[in-house]
Amino acid sequence: MQTITYREALNQALAEEMERDPDVFLMGEEVAEYDGAYKVSKGLLDRFGEKRIVDSPISELGFAGLGVGAAMVGLRPVIEFMTFNFSILALDQVLNSAAKMLYMSGGQIPMPIVFRGPTGAALQLSAQHSQACEVWYVHAPGIKVVTPGTPADAKGLLKAAIRDPDPVVVMEGELLYNVKGEVPDVEDGDFVIPLGKADLKREGGDVSIITHGKMIHTALQAAAKLEKEGIQADVLDLRSLRPLDVDAILETVRKTNRAVYLEEGWPYAGVGAQIVSIIQEEAFDHLDAPVIRVTQADVPMPYAKNLEQLAKPGVDRVISACNRVLYRN
């Protein structure tokens, strides 16, 4: 085991897959000479050259489309969005070209492409730079979406995404890049985490906190506090939103009969709404309480420190949601 940052884990994943497959290339803003806005691609330009590590103009729609076109003829592009906030400009190429190409062509044109970058809020970046963008992508069939929350998951899932024959959106987190964690050594060979497998990050039994992405850390903190009050919480990290590990969701809910969904984004038609819908349909008789969702405040992200803190879903809100589904105080 090596202890490395989430950033380093992504960097290793990119490097290993580029070594393995000459058809893999990385394109995006500042990925080459600048080592990436968040330094995820540090050193890759020197190692793989400017043919495979490519600085793009600030043309999200254009370079996303270019990536899709390259994938149409068999390359395996990794397209980096500096942040997913800017990917909204490219959404047409992802939803209408990438996600539908295989279908419209009757199976003739596979679309092995990865779109990656940080999603969600960092610190005081204000309304236009603090959006959790999962929903724009996961809503559409033809796309797969993964949201690693730890270094190990980041490495294993990005490698799987690059090898996947379908378009995979890999959503990272600016606040995750410095997070350290254990990751299998490179020597120990190929470390890949299959898409579609959730991970029970904490074993409890009284209540299920289900979440994804960087929120797993908030969930774990909440679970630790709850433990002090004598409550044992399962913390289920979906890791992959599509494919979705429904079995794991149902298993924890059938065990605890109480669930809270925690996500960084907005509530209306959020990921949590989908999970709640699945739970109430497929574990109806197992629920002792409604599933409660904890999300960002339903407002654009404000700049002011205090307002931003209020807007974000925090540990306390998770705890009181757990208390609600446990009918405590």
């Binding site: 043309s59 149409m72 190429q93 062509s105 579609g196 979705l244």
Partner: protein, 358 residues
């Protein structure tokens, strides 16, 4: 200044009929007759409900398709918008499977899933068939990127309508092709209208000038004259194959029919007279025919035979399409994903599907 030269290359070849062998000329005529009859058949089929949805005919613009695609190799790429039936034929896609796709049948090029706007045939290097105006321009840059990435010598030809130059994707894609010197030819099929909007109402400058800001050579060609278009394109393709980098072509043409089946041929946006004059004066097939008559390379007999041949091919295509069954219902869930990962759920509609829990 390279960015804005509009060399009328082909112009030198004005009367350049001698550039082509009699066989070549007959081939041109056969091809364009096929395209024309194919679209007329599609029109017929649409009228009796065999084809549904949007159906955009290419009638009047045949010489642009033949001129720019004919000189290509099989391993070159062609990509287009939704007015692409004849371009598919020109790239070697079987009339049968194109027609079957229009009919929405299992035997279609996309198994009936794509329809008129989404003809694909990877084997022939025909890469669609795209419905979002301008989107294919960026996709073309990507295919050209791949060619260069692999060190290949193929060329990518990207067709778009005149209205597509007003899309952001056009701007971003041309700029990237310019800075990376990609082997792509952007052909604007300038039929002067986007649906009911004259180009002059949505651009302050002519089509050919719209690439001036990128450092990409721009050219104009008479897209109704197959000899001029072919000669020009043949040379240009070789230049690009040789590393000349991206090219932009204003191919002047005219749409003889309405925008799509539901739209009027003429109306407030263009007069009956205009359409009549254009169709009479600028029919690419008639233009070629007359030049071959003048050069005594064709007589009416031969033309009749060729036309009969074309009609026979499209009749067969229609019969093939008609005989082809509707896609099997199980096809609804195929090709959404190339791989259903061993773990997790991909479909959330709660419906029964072959081989997955609801």
């Amino acid at each position: 200044m390279a960015g804005t030269k509009t060399k009328k290359k082909a112009a030198d070849k004005e009367a350049g009929i001698d550039r082509f062998s009699p066989d070549q000329l007959r081939h041109f005529l056969r091809e364009m007759l096929l395209y024309r009859r194919f679209e007329e058949k599609a029109e017929e089929a649409y009228a009796i409900g065999k084809i549904g949805g949007f159906c955009h005919l290419h009638i009047g613009q045949e010489a642009v398709a033949l001129g720019f695609i004919g000189p290509l190799r099989k391993d070159d790429y062609v990509i287009s918008a939704y007015r692409e039936h004849t371009q598919a034929l020109a790239k070697g896609v079987e009339p049968n499977i194109v027609m079957a796709e229009l009919f929405g049948r299992e035997g279609g090029s996309s198994g009936g899933k794509g329809g008129s706007m989404h003809i694909f045939n990877a084997d022939q290097g025909f890469m669609g068939g795209h419905g979002i105006v301008g989107a294919q321009v960026a996709l073309a840059s990507g295919m050209a990127w791949a060619i260069k990435y692999r060190g290949g010598d193929q060329v990518c030809v990207c067709f778009m309508g005149d209205a597509a130059v007003n899309q952001g994707a056009f701007h971003e894609a041309l700029n990237m092709s310019a800075i990376w010197k990609l082997p792509v030819i952007y052909v604007v099929e300038n039929n002067h209208y986007g649906m009911g909007t004259a180009f002059s109402r949505v651009s302050a400058v002519p089509v050919v000038d719209r690439a001036k800001g990128y450092g990409i050579p721009a050219h104009s060609v008479n897209g109704q004259d197959i000899l001029e278009t072919w000669a020009f394109a043949e040379d240009l393709v070789e230049e690009v194959r040789g590393g000349a980098g991206p090219q932009y072509v204003d191919a002047q043409t005219y749409r003889f029919k309405g925008h799509s089946m539901s739209d009027p041929v003429s109306g407030t946006y263009r007069s009956k007279e205009e359409v009549q004059e254009k169709t009479e004066r600028d029919d690419p097939i008639r233009l070629l025919r007359d030049r071959m008559y003048d050069a005594e390379m064709l007589d009416e007999e031969e033309l009749k035979e060729m036309d009969a041949e074309a009609r026979k091919l499209v009749d067969e295509a229609a019969e093939f399409a008609d005989a082809s069954p509707l896609p099997d219902p199980s096809e609804l869930y195929t090709h959404v994903y190339a791989e259903e990962n061993p773990h997790g759920r991909l479909y959330f509609d709660g419906r029964e599907r072959p081989g997955q829990e609801a």
